[in-house]
Symmetry: C2
Subunit: 384 residues, 2 copies
């Protein structure tokens, strides 16, 4: 087990009716920026419940936050926070809304350009307007982590940022809020949470450790519950387990003592930055293809995964077979829940692959040491 | 999954050499109460490293903190903190030292009698002197929880207390600090951590959920690593996994969505309060006997445990057999690592059982609804 530092002070209120906690949590704040997406929260009643809890406060709104949230939206939010001396940002939505809100929170506390400072120069966020979240979609885990991802469409870049002040002060997780999600979001969110776990699980050290045991527990939970949620969208147990597994998948727990990888996410971010595809759908294509390209030298880890997560009997397989078959099993899983398996399905044009690979860059991670040609080959392999 | 609230702001510095972080963590504080046990930290060099990090501060010491820490020691510490306006308590040791320090921290912020207020009246701790810990023994998990247990020898009571201000500000976990632990402590700590997981795992709801999956992961980790640590006390991987599993076993994670039980702990606390036995050794006797008494109605949960944790093939067993055999397997496990299996081995006198049962009280928990006669029967069953 490698050395690690762990700190996660987010207060979680979990369960049906957890919104009851909102009023108390908001007590210290007077001027609130309420952020949300396309307005589904107005249809399903969540907006009204939130506004009730905010009674008596000065509330400003930033709506229409898009999937793969963009820099323009962040600038809009920063201006609102600065112009009105807003002292709290309340994100009501999924990962896009929360990520966008974190970027606004960080950007509002600096006079520099937020994109340049936190995304290009990669400064750690050391100050941010306090924020909280009411989660309406499981997947990104942004409700209990200290980072996010923003897209700069003009530069075709989708980059991450973060720092401890980006931890939400609290997050409200009511699994019933996900009942009415479009199926597409359920699938995409599920691939995303599963991918978060794999980014840590498939990283050094490969030796047995508590963290990988927990990662396997989360993967089994996700596999078991996604099928139930697809069949029966109002199944509380399945929605609750997916929601909590999703939060744990990226709240730090699965990375402790692990060197982490995250190259699949990088590969996907380029796809989104070029084609604005849903993050989870992009991951469903890229993650298995990345693993196929880099599994050599880690066959035993894949065999363990095959046995413990996929319940495969690998006793008659060579190490190589066990690795390959387990990755194929992952692809089958993604396909079986309705996710795509090729870049072609996502609308990617083959002649863009070299450009995409150049934007993705050249990477050395925990499992890989890739050159531009390797990145091109992975995209090619994922094409059809 | 039941609703839950989760909040755990402890900063963890984990790994060999983690003591490096101490100096920075101590920066905000000027007057420090250093608490520790019998002085082994002076022999193994930890004391010197701590004092180095505290250079320039006014340091007071409270040493000789005993296993099953007692009220007298807490009063002594409270007096020191009040007399010298101490602004931070640094506990260097295992659960006893940290628990005692938490009680001092809480008691120092009230003019009332701490025992009466927090242990008899069960007031939640709402204010405490800030504290931190340098852990030297894995087991209690006190380094990342917000409670503790103190013994009042005169009243033959061993009671718990807690509240968020009792969370350490930080804890330093260096697995190499446990290399020189007496074997007895390794065994006792291991039973304790395993028991913490079971107190949550064997509680309602029994249905499949993320939390129980994680509990199983922790139990497997403990089983795998204790044998390695017993054979090879300086095995870093085993010590590190045991230390981290122990912390996770009671930092809140395994209780989320669970109603918790904790009656085995109550049963053991009485044994310790009467005979001053090591907590873990008492649990090794009481926990399996408690489970044997209450398993009916939860057989399927025990079957799952048998399969997933003990790797037993239960396909040819009735539900009842699977439950009984899995509990017997637990007893074998405790015995195999050198823990006792009967109260007699612990030196308990049979004619004290009724008195002990009366002190333990009558309990309704998640798995049980016990009357005095039941408690007597459990102690009797555990006797030999």
């Amino acid at each position: 087990m490698d050395a690690f530092y762990f700190y996660n002070p987010v207060k979680i209120h979990f369960g049906e009716g957890a919104i009851r906690a909102l009023k108390d949590e908001m007590k210290p704040y007077k001027k609130v920026l309420l952020t949300y997406g396309k307005g589904s929260i107005k249809k399903n009643g969540i907006y009204d419940k939130v506004m009730e809890a905010l009674e008596g406060k000065e509330v400003y709104e930033l709506s229409e936050i898009m999937p793969n949230p963009r820099v323009e939206k962040v600038y809009e939010g920063i201006k609102l926070v600065k112009d009105h001396d807003i002292d709290f940002i309340l994100a009501v939505g999924g990962g896009s809304t929360i990520d966008c809100s974190k970027a606004i929170a960080a950007g509002a506390k600096t006079d520099e350009d937020f994109w340049k400072k936190y995304f290009i120069n990669k400064d750690e966020v050391l100050d941010a307007t306090p924020l909280g979240s009411v989660l309406t979609m499981a997947g990104t885990g942004s409700e209990m982590d200290n980072g996010g991802v923003i897209t700069n469409w003009e530069e075709q870049l989708k980059l991450s940022f973060g720092g401890d002040p980006c931890y939400p002060k609290f997050s409200i997780l009511d699994p019933t809020y996900t009942y009415s999600l479009p199926k597409h979001h359920l699938i995409s969110g599920t691939v995303d949470m599963f991918s978060h776990v794999m980014e840590e699980y498939f990283s050094m050290p490969d030796e047995e450790n508590t963290t990988d045991e927990i990662s396997e527990a989360l993967m089994r939970t996700i596999i078991e519950n996604i099928y139930i949620a697809l069949d029966d969208p109002r199944n509380y147990r399945a929605r609750a387990n997916l929601m909590w597994a999703s939060t744990l998948a990226i709240n730090g727990l699965t990375s402790l003592s692990k060197r982490s990888d995250w190259l699949s996410h990088r590969l996907e971010h380029t796809v989104s930055a070029f084609y604005d595809v849903s993050h989870g759908m992009g991951l469903a294509v890229m993650h298995p293809n990345y693993l196929k390209y880099v599994y050599k030298g880690h066959e035993k880890k894949f065999r363990r995964w095959a046995e413990n997560v996929w319940k495969m009997d690998t006793s008659k397989m060579t190490d190589d077979e066990a690795a390959i078959k387990s990755i194929e099993r992952l692809q089958e899983f993604f396909k079986s829940i309705g996710a795509p398996t090729t870049l072609k399905e996502l609308g990617v044009q083959r002649d863009k692959i070299e450009d995409m690979a150049k934007k993705t860059g050249v990477y050395k991670t925990s499992y890989s040491d890739l050159k531009l040609q390797d990145v091109i080959k992975i995209y090619e392999q994922a094409y059809e």
